[in-house]
Structures are given as C-alpha cells and as structure tokens.
C-alpha cells in the first residue's frame, strides 16, 4: 500500500474545483490509498473550499469509503436476496472463521479485509463473492480456503 501523500494534490486536480466533485475526488483517493487518509480529506476540503465537516459527513455516509487502511485483498461476500436464499450466511461465517476477522475488519498483517455487500449483481450465480474486482460464482463452503489463497 502506498503511503506517499505527495500525490494528493494531483489526484484532487483531476476534477473541476467545485463542491460537486467531492465524491469523485474521494473515490480517486480511496482507489489510490485503499482508504481515505486524514491528510487527503483535509487537503480536499481546503482545495474545494468546503468545511471539513462536510467532507467527513460524505466520507462516513457512503459505504464505499473507509477511514482506516484496508488489506491488500478486499473480500466482499454478497448478501443480496438471491445469495441469502442460497446460503450466503454460511459463506460469510466461513470467511470469518478462516480469516479470524468480522466484516468491516482487516487482518493484522494487512493482507485481507472482509466486507459484506448488499448485492453485486451476479445473482444468477448465487452465492457470489467478489475479491478485489473479480467475481466468483456458485461459491461452496469447501472452496473458501482456496479462494482466500487466490483472487
């Protein structure tokens, strides 16, 4: 994970300098650092001339943003309706057991973060797991050890 904050101004500069760019800037920052570092949020507030409280409220309102660093691999267990009906609860629990963390947490070695997501839109292949940007369908409990290893 990069911790070089010197890139922050150039990320902010990719977007028009107006309040409506806030979400897009935060998305780019999150993409770069895997979370929203406080420095980046302060710099964003300053550049767009919006109060820090507004940046904070947007950053905490939307699920996609994280204020704490996340692991290299983001494992998202889909818990949408189709996945729920086809046993996503067990899948989630197996990941929790395997990684020894709960959804929203990151392993101490910063390798994995576990999250649950409302629906990733691959419902026909339920239950579905997303690892970073890759989708894995018809996930069985027996496959979870293997999934943690790759992705």
């Amino acid at each position: 994970m990069k911790q070089d904050f010197t890139t922050i101004p150039s990320i902010i500069a990719r977007h028009p300098r107006k309040a409506s760019s806030l979400i897009m800037i935060l998305q780019d920052i999150q993409k770069e650092f895997n979370y929203l570092p406080e420095e980046a949020m302060r710099k964003t507030a300053e550049t767009l001339e919006v109060p820090m409280s507004k940046v904070y409220s947007v950053a905490t309102f939307y699920n996609a943003f994280s204020l704490v660093p996340r692991g290299e691999k983001l494992i998202r267990v889909c818990v949408g309706t189709a996945c729920h009906i086809r046993g996503s609860k067990v899948i989630r629990e197996q990941f929790e057991n395997e990684l020894k963390i709960k959804p929203g947490e990151t392993t101490p070695d910063m390798k994995y973060s576990l999250e649950v997501v409302g629906c990733v839109g691959a419902c026909a292949m339920a239950p579905v797991v997303m690892i970073n940007d890759k989708y894995f369908g018809s996930v069985k409990t027996s496959r979870i050890k293997q999934l943690v290893g790759k992705g």
Partner: protein
C-alpha cells in the same frame, strides 16, 4: 468522423452489415455478470489464442465477439455460434479447441455442451428452441448477447441510433413526447410513472437549464437487469437519453452508476467517447442546434441513492438524503433545475418506440401496462438468468416455462419481487399476471425487476428479517419513523426467529408498520415494512409456528432447529468437509454423526448432502 445526416447513418449501417455478412461464422462469448463470475474471460482468451495461432479459412479474429448477458446464466459460461444459433453451456477452456475443430470447421455439434431440457431430458441445439428463450420477448435486452458492447459500429449495424436520428431530424420535441405518452411507457425502475407525462411536465417548466439523468443505481438486491444493459448495450441507454434530452430541452446529462458495477462504468465511458467521436453527443448533433453531452457519476455504496432526490444530491457531491417532494424533481431537481430522471431500462426502450411507433409498443403487453419488463430470475429456480417478457405474463409461465421449475423439483413456496420495497407472493398467486398494477394489488410491487424464487426450505420469518436488516443498515437516518421504526420492527423479527416471540407481537408489528408507512419521508421508509406485511399476510401460520410452537417449519432459524443424520447416509464425507465447526464425524462409507454440542445449525451440511440424509427437527 461525424454523422450528420440520416442517409449517412443508413450507409454506415449497410457497410457494417456487409462486413458482418462476410463472416462465415461468429463465436459469441458471453461476458454477462453470470458468465464473468464463471470464468468467461479465460475462455475468450483461449479462443483468441487459438484463432491467432491457427489460420482457419474464412474465420478471422473478427469472428470472435465478447457480448453482454446472453440470458441463461445458470448454464454459464455460455458460448453461442452464429448464424446457426447454437448454444454451448458450461464451456470450459479445454472445450475451446473442440469447438473450433468440430463446430467451426466441420459444422459438427458437440452434444455434451448442449442444453438439456429438464423435463424431456432432450438435448437442444439451437437456443431459440429452448423454452427459456422461446417464451421471451426482448425489447430492452434486444442486443444483449448479440453485439460487442465496446463497439459503436456493432450497435449501428443492428439499427442503433436510428430512433435518435429520426427524433432529432424529423420530429419536434412535442411530437416525441406525444409518441412516448401514447406508447404508455411507464418507469421501469419500479414506480411505473408514465414516462411521457414526466417529460411533458419537465419541458413545460420555463428555465434556462434542464437536466436528464439516468438512474443506474440498481440497488435492489437480487436484481441485475440494469447492470446487464449498461455493460452489454450501453449505447441503447445513451440513445434513449439523447432523445429525452432533445424532448425536454436539456444540454447536460448524467448517468449515476452503482459503485459495485465497475465494468458498467468502463463500458459506458467507452460508449460515450465513441458517440462523441461520431458527433452523436456533443455540439450541434446531426447538424442541428441541439447540443447534449453526458457524464458518468459513480455511486459510493448507498441504497437510498436509488431514490430520485437522494440521487440528485449525490450527483451534486453531497450526502444522499432524500428530501420532501412538495415540489417534484421534474420541476426542481438537480441544482434546483427541472430534471427528468429515468431508469436504465426505461431509456433502453425509448429508441425503439420512436423508431417503430407507439402503436407497435402498445401491441405488446396488456392495457395500461404496455411493452415488456426485464427480470432477473434467480433463487431456487432451475434456469436462473436474465429474462424479458411481455407485461401480463403470469408468474407461473415465468417460473415454470422459462425458469424450468424449481431446483431438485422441490415445492414452490413464494416468489419475491420488488426488492426490499416489495413482497413475497405465495402459490395461490402464481396465475396472477405480472404488471405494475396486478403486483401492487397482490401486496408486492413490480420494483426494478428482481424475481427471487423460494422453495419450502426458505423461511418467511427469516426472509422478512433479512430485508429488515438490509433496510436498517441502509436507512439514511434522516427521519425517525424509518430510522427507529424499522429498527424496532427488525428487533421484533429477531425475537420471533429466535423463539422468544409472544402473543401480540405480530399485531404490534402490524401497528408499527402502519406508522412507519404514514410517517416516513421517502419511498425507502414508506415501503420498508412491505417485506414483513406481505409475508405475514400470506404466511401468518409460519410466524405463529415460531411464536407458539417455537418451531421453524422450513428448518432455517437456527435457534429453533436441530440437525440429525439418518440411515440414508452412505458416508460420502461431503457434509464432513463442508462443516466449518468440525461438528461432523465418521469415516468414509460409514454413516456420519453430528455432535450436537459443536453444531451451530448453520445448515452447510444440508446444502451439500445429495441423499437427503440430514433431517431437520
């Protein structure tokens, strides 16, 4: 190159058609959501590798095509061979050589890759002969599985942008709105508001700026129609938006796409750039004074942003909280300007209505519900996938003819439509038609198009609890009835599912539901109690079993059940491997035993047992 006359577009279409007709065969590798989750990319790469290495007469790399969702996701990954309309299912990398050597070179069919009809056990070669496809009528999904989403030329080849060109060069804005109104097109996002009336109101508002927005924040869990359209046929959405913009007098458009759909963003962006290059977006479109451009806004993971006023706040870079709609957003929407907001599928319908006329559209579907509706048919049904049927098709036709019935022949229990705002309908409603009004009357709603089929192993209390938990975490928190009311409703649902329910709890929940509906500001709150209300309306007995007998008849609610292995067990060890808690012991080919103290009642063993050897008490 800029396209500036209808004639030019026709000529281009002809050119692309001729080019396409020269291909002896086309290999379609589906890249829809289901196929991507099943390794479609690897298959595409394998085809590419072999086709580049081997020189096959008449078959160049041009014959290979990545398309959007072909539909039959259950059998993913899918490969279709055109123009023969052959469909190969569950294709693996090792099959690719065979497909090239046999089917492409020698016109031989590979029987093991064909779809097998679940009833007749017959292998079917051509996909139009499969019931899953033959019972459908595709309008919004017309190009999915046929064109390359990243290639505007392919869209033009199949008639793309003809509707828009007709609208901009031959029609007045009023005539377009009149045509859309006459077609009876209603909002496909679920609300069912007449699209023509929305456009007409927006146009009438006098202002220097009007906006057009496409709602691609498909938040309903269990629905992926819009994802499939944005990924597989992005130009149809752009075309619909351009027509809308011309009709209401907008210069700027926005597409708001869910955070969870990265590929949709990529494909839409490519489409926008291609459309600009052809002069179909940008300044002075088709040599007229009409200018319009589109930008993409990515959502950031908030279900409530599917609500129009919250979505507009989010586009403006703010927290996505809905506002009270004393003044509707068609009058005062984005940045307080008159704004037309329609859903992805609605826009995808528009070009064809303009091209073929309102009468053509009203000829499909039923009265007051013209046209078709796309659904994601998922859950415990055999043929899961993406479908589109005329309005008025019955639930039974969808689930049994198209869906092929339930997995393992288990009994049907309910079908859930409308997402968290909808409801669950029982078997007595199977013959009711699927349209906006009938579903609402039945206590559910159309919603954006998720259709989740449930069998006897689905507990309705658990389903209600599931949706309530979803809504509790997605409530934006602005107004009390939703934030606190849904939470209390959720707590009561947990209480019942854990066997602590008391007499009077259901009545308390019903009263609370009424208050939430009355007091909430936006649709999320107002419809929040629906999952509970519809399940208690049709499955009250099941709730009472939890409350009075402390039993979960479906064998789902963990506090109320116990698993035991019966004498049908042949010691296959599948359950033993599936158990994460080491609660199952036994050696191979010997009956296994569950240690009740270690068992967490998660049910992982039941899902893997093929011999019905695990009883639930």
């Amino acid at each position: 190159m800029r396209i500036s006359t209808p004639k030019q577009l026709k000529e281009l279409q002809k050119k692309f058609q001729d080019r396409d007709n020269k291909l002896a065969k086309k290999i379609i590798v589906c890249h829809g959501p289901g196929c991507l989750a099943s390794g479609a990319e690897k298959i595409y790469q394998e085809f590419k590798k072999i086709l580049s290495e081997k020189k096959i007469t008449g078959i160049t790399l041009e014959a290979l095509k990545k398309t959007g969702c072909h539909g039959l996701c259950e059998k993913a990954p899918l490969v279709a061979i055109e123009p023969d309309k052959i469909l190969y299912t569950h294709v693996k990398e090792r099959h690719v050589v065979d497909i090239i050597e046999k089917t492409i070179k020698k016109n031989e069919i590979i029987p093991e890759l064909l779809y097998v009809d679940p009833q007749t056990k017959e292998k079917i070669v051509r996909y139009p002969d499969i019931k899953f496809y033959s019972h459908q009528t595709r309008i919004a999904l017309r190009n999915l599985g046929h064109i390359n989403a990243a290639d505007i030329d392919d869209y033009i080849r199949v008639g793309g942008y003809q509707g828009m060109v007709k609208a901009v060069t031959k029609m007045t804005p009023e005539a377009i709105i009149e045509e859309i109104s006459k077609s009876g097109l209603r909002g496909r996002g679920g609300g069912g508001f007449p699209t023509g009336r929305k456009w007409a109101t927006c146009r009438k508002v006098e202002d220097d700026t009007h906006y057009v927005i496409c709602n691609g924040d498909e938040g309903d869990p269990g629905a992926f129609m819009d994802r499939a359209i944005m990924e597989g046929d992005p130009h149809s959405v752009l075309e619909g938006m351009i027509i809308a913009a011309f009709a209401v007098g907008a210069r700027d458009g926005y597409i708001y796409v869910r955070e969870e759909y990265p590929l949709a963003v990529i494909n839409l962006q490519i489409a926008i750039e291609q459309a600009r290059e052809y002069g179909l977006l940008g300044e002075q479109i088709m040599g007229t004074y009409f200018s319009f451009d589109i930008q993409i806004n990515r959502g950031a993971g908030a279900f409530v942003c599917g609500e129009s006023s919250a979505l507009m706040k989010s586009v403006a870079g703010e927290v996505g909280e809905p506002r009270a709609k004393y003044i509707r957003s068609v009058v005062k929407g984005l940045y307080d300007k008159p704004t037309v907001l329609n859903n992805v599928e609605t826009y995808a319908n528009v070009p064809l209505i303009i091209e073929k006329g309102a009468d053509w559209f009203t000829g499909i579907g039923v009265k007051k519900n013209s046209g078709t509706k796309a659904f994601s048919l998922v859950g415990k049904v055999r043929n899961t996938g993406l479908i589109e049927v005329p309005m008025g098709t019955t639930l039974r036709e969808i689930i049994y003819d198209i869906g092929g019935g339930l997995i393992d022949g288990r009994p049907f229990k309910a079908v859930q439509t409308g997402g968290p705002s909808g409801g669950c309908l029982p078997d007595t409603m199977l013959d009711s038609p699927v349209d906006f009004d009938s579903l609402t009357k039945a206590g559910s709603m159309m919603g954006s198009g998720g259709m989740i089929v449930m069998d006897d192993r689905t507990c309705m209390v658990d389903v209600a609890k599931y949706f309530l938990s979803f809504l509790v975490s997605e409530s934006c928190g602005k107004c009390n009835p939703c934030r606190e009311g849904l939470y209390q409703l959720y707590k009561l649902a947990i209480k019942i599912s854990e066997g602590r329910g008391e007499e009077g709890d259901l009545e308390k929940m019903e009263k609370l539901s009424d208050m939430i509906i009355l007091g909430s500001l936006c649709g999320l709150g107002k419809s929040g109690p629906n999952p509970f209300l519809s399940t208690v309306r049709y499955f009250r007995e099941e709730y009472l079993a939890h409350i009075r007998d402390k039993k979960c008849p479906a064998g789902v609610c963990r506090e109320l059940i116990r698993f035991e292995i019966n004498d049908k067990c042949d010691g296959c060890t599948a359950c033993l491997m599936a158990c994460a808690y080491n609660a199952i012991t036994g050696s191979k080919k010997q009956p296994h035993v569950i240690n009740q103290e270690l068992c967490t009642h998660c049910g992982a063993c039941v899902t893997v047992c093929t011999r019905n050897a695990i009883d639930v008490f």
